[in-house]
């Protein structure tokens, strides 16, 4: 396996409508959560969520059939900016989403329950319900040749990034976008509330007081290229995808394996594919959701592999847990950190937890050559990627 250059990045999140603005908030450990105002979730209290503010340049994200499509299009256009002309290169896309068109479908279904006559609006409201409908829409907007739509809960977008890497390696495409997107929806807010996993006051990753997650929304896009295409384009890569690892816990449908066995297998596979030792990892961009079980299992898993534990951070209090977008969105900001040689601070963390026995970085300068990004999802679904600084000499 090879290192695949990343030549473009885009991000839309509660922290702003572009990658650099989002990074400024992430690296400062800023809290961007606000009381949920996109819809009335009819819960006992209004939860804090990472909501994308209105687009200051609506032309970049308008025209999409639903919120996910609009967010993704905005991030994709930013990622494609370095390469406005493709000169015959084959462009593909791996799209990660769990919510897809649900933001409209759930409103349609609610209206239908109240008024059976609302069925006549079905064609308009459900046309982009499926993940593949959004992928098809995006592909048409950017003239992508082909795409794959993937949905594996919170780990989805790191799988999409891994697939994009392999699609380039297998010479399916010269350029491949890895895109993760999810929008806030009644289904997800009420769903996580039903599991009693929401921290209404805002998540506190790795903190002794942590009780749950804060949901968020957004989109991240990474433009991968073959080394040949990158060289031909004259664009200096911002980083390389060095390794992807995936595994299933096979343990429980929602709870992680208590020792993080599946997470260990995914991270080990990513390190093996990257062909680097664990000791070479300079930072872990953790999944770090803020639930009692997930945070402790993740650190246990990382301790199995790393001694000492590298500096780690969670971006969930800054962005919210953006579900299928989180892996790529947080990778975009971690790549900025790699360039900045700076470990982001973890918003929401104040009190160390003895059970975890480790503290996220307070925000520090450190030379970063390689980092790990983790994402773990429902169904015991685990994904890790290794991202490295780009060096032409290693190709």
């Amino acid at each position: 396996m090879s290192r695949i250059p990343i030549i473009g990045m885009g991000a839309v999140s509660a922290a702003g409508h572009c990658a650099s603005k989002g990074y400024d908030a992430v690296v400062a450990g800023k809290d961007c959560l606000t009381p949920l105002s996109l819809f009335d979730a009819a819960l006992k209290a209004v939860p804090l969520c990472g909501q994308v503010p209105d687009d200051p340049e609506p032309g970049y994200s308008s025209g999409g059939p639903n919120r996910c499509a609009g967010l993704a299009l905005r991030a994709i256009r930013e990622a494609l900016q370095p390469m406005p002309e493709r000169n015959g290169l084959r462009l593909g896309m791996a799209l990660a989403t769990t919510v897809a068109g649900m933001t409209r479908s759930e409103q349609f279904y609610r209206a239908l329950r109240d008024d059976p006559g609302y069925l006549e609006h079905a064609a308009r409201e459900l046309a982009c319900h499926e993940p593949t409908a959004i992928a098809g829409f995006l592909a048409r907007q950017i003239n992508a040749q082909g795409f794959h739509s993937i949905s594996t809960a919170c780990s989805t977008s790191l799988h999409a990034l891994g697939m994009a890497k392999r699609l380039i390696e297998h010479d399916r495409y010269d350029l491949c976008l890895a895109v993760g997107v999810d929008a806030l929806s009644i289904l997800t807010v009420r769903g996580f509330a039903s599991l009693m996993l929401l921290d209404f006051s805002g998540c506190k990753p790795f903190d002794a007081r942590r009780v749950g997650i804060s949901l968020g929304e957004g989109a991240g896009a990474l433009l991968l290229a073959s080394a040949k295409a990158a060289r031909q384009s004259g664009i200096e890569p911002v980083a390389a995808v060095a390794g992807w690892g995936a595994s299933a816990d096979g343990h429980h449908m929602t709870a992680p394996h208590p020792d993080g066995e599946g997470a260990v297998r995914a991270t080990t596979a990513a390190l093996e594919e990257a062909d680097i030792a664990a000791s070479a990892i300079d930072m872990i961009a953790a999944h770090g959701t803020g639930t009692p079980d997930n945070d402790i299992a993740e650190i246990r898993a990382m301790r199995t592999l790393f001694d000492p534990l590298p500096p780690f951070c969670s971006m969930k209090r800054t962005l919210g847990h953006t579900l299928a977008a989180s892996g790529i969105l947080e990778t975009v900001f971690a790549i900025h950190a790699l360039h900045d040689n700076r470990i982001p601070a973890t918003a929401g963390f104040e009190q160390p937890d003895e059970a975890i026995n480790a503290q996220p970085s307070p925000g520090e300068e450190k030379i970063i050559h390689h980092f790990i990004k983790n994402s773990f999802g429902f169904g015991g679904n685990n994904a890790s990627v290794v991202i490295s600084k780009w060096e032409w000499s290693k190709q």
Binding site: T132, Q145, T152, L187, G191, M253
Partner: protein, 266 residues
């Protein structure tokens, strides 16, 4: 993509087999979502006849556990309380996660959602996995719920034409190896690709030419793409009938305006 060897195959088609759930554990049959039971039954059936065990899972589903999604929203909108069990089961990858738990399959666990092209897209995805992740258990699965029968005629004419003609539920399983194995069918796929200004049939013909060379007939799309699971059922039937030959199976997803082609060499 490099063709994969099909070393095991099975299907559960409730419309044809009313006793399909007999081999599902009773506690699961009574408590678990129907679509989980279909997936479990199909994989169990395949493993009975196969000496090898899967190391990873790729699931292909257009709509996922739609019944559970509807049940969760019914709870929220009607009673103000959505069941956490319904929510857990509603995610697209819940079938793949449950299979990993039921059959201790601890490798990569991916769920692909590309409408009628899901089977082809999942085959391409499986081909991207590492040597150590094979055999791959590829599960194509869709369930039928009453609400869809009500809604589908109101979708666009194009969608309704494809979806409503033969709305069908099934779980179809293929156990795949990435080595060429004597006597085993070989399967590969291309797509999904956007059709652009071409008609779906024209795009499929182009893709078929790319994957097979010329000279092999592509059946009309309405024979292979009239439900989400049909391309997989067609491949399954060719394999179980064991008639030598090379078969092309086209698919078209109106919602994505994209097409794909699967090639099966017996």
């Amino acid at each position: 993509m490099k063709p994969l060897s099909v070393i095991g195959v099975s299907s559960i088609q409730p419309a044809r087999d009313p006793d399909w759930s007999a081999e599902v554990p009773k506690i699961m049959r009574t408590r678990a979502p129907r679509i989980w039971c279909m997936a479990h039954a199909a994989v169990k059936k395949m493993l009975i006849d196969c000496s090898r065990t899967p190391k990873s899972i790729v699931t292909a589903t257009a709509l996922g556990a739609l019944g559970e999604t509807k049940n969760f929203l019914d709870g929220v909108f009607k009673d103000g309380f959505g069941s956490p069990r319904n929510f857990i089961a509603s995610v697209h990858n819940s079938m793949a996660g449950k299979l990993a738990v039921d059959f201790s399959i601890n490798g990569p666990n991916l769920t692909i959602c590309d409408g009628q092209n899901s089977f082809a897209s999942a085959l391409v995805t499986a081909s991207l996995l590492s040597q150590k992740d094979f055999p791959v258990c590829l599960v194509v699965i869709e369930e039928r719920i009453e609400l869809l029968d009500t809604i589908l005629p109101y979708l666009s004419e194009e969608c309704a034409a494809y979806l409503n003609r033969n709305w069908y539920e099934a779980a179809v399983v293929f156990l795949l190896d990435n080595n060429q194995i004597q006597g085993c069918p070989r399967i590969s796929a291309v797509g999904p690709e956007t059709v652009g200004s071409l008609a779906p049939e024209e795009k499929c013909a182009l893709l078929a030419g790319a994957i097979s060379g010329n000279g092999i007939t592509l059946p009309p799309l309405d024979e292979t793409s009239d439900s989400f699971v049909k391309p997989a059922i067609v491949a399954h039937n060719h394999i179980t009938e064991a008639a030598p030959g090379t078969y092309l199976i086209g698919s078209y997803a109106p919602s994505a305006q994209a097409a794909a082609v699967v090639m099966l060499c017996m």
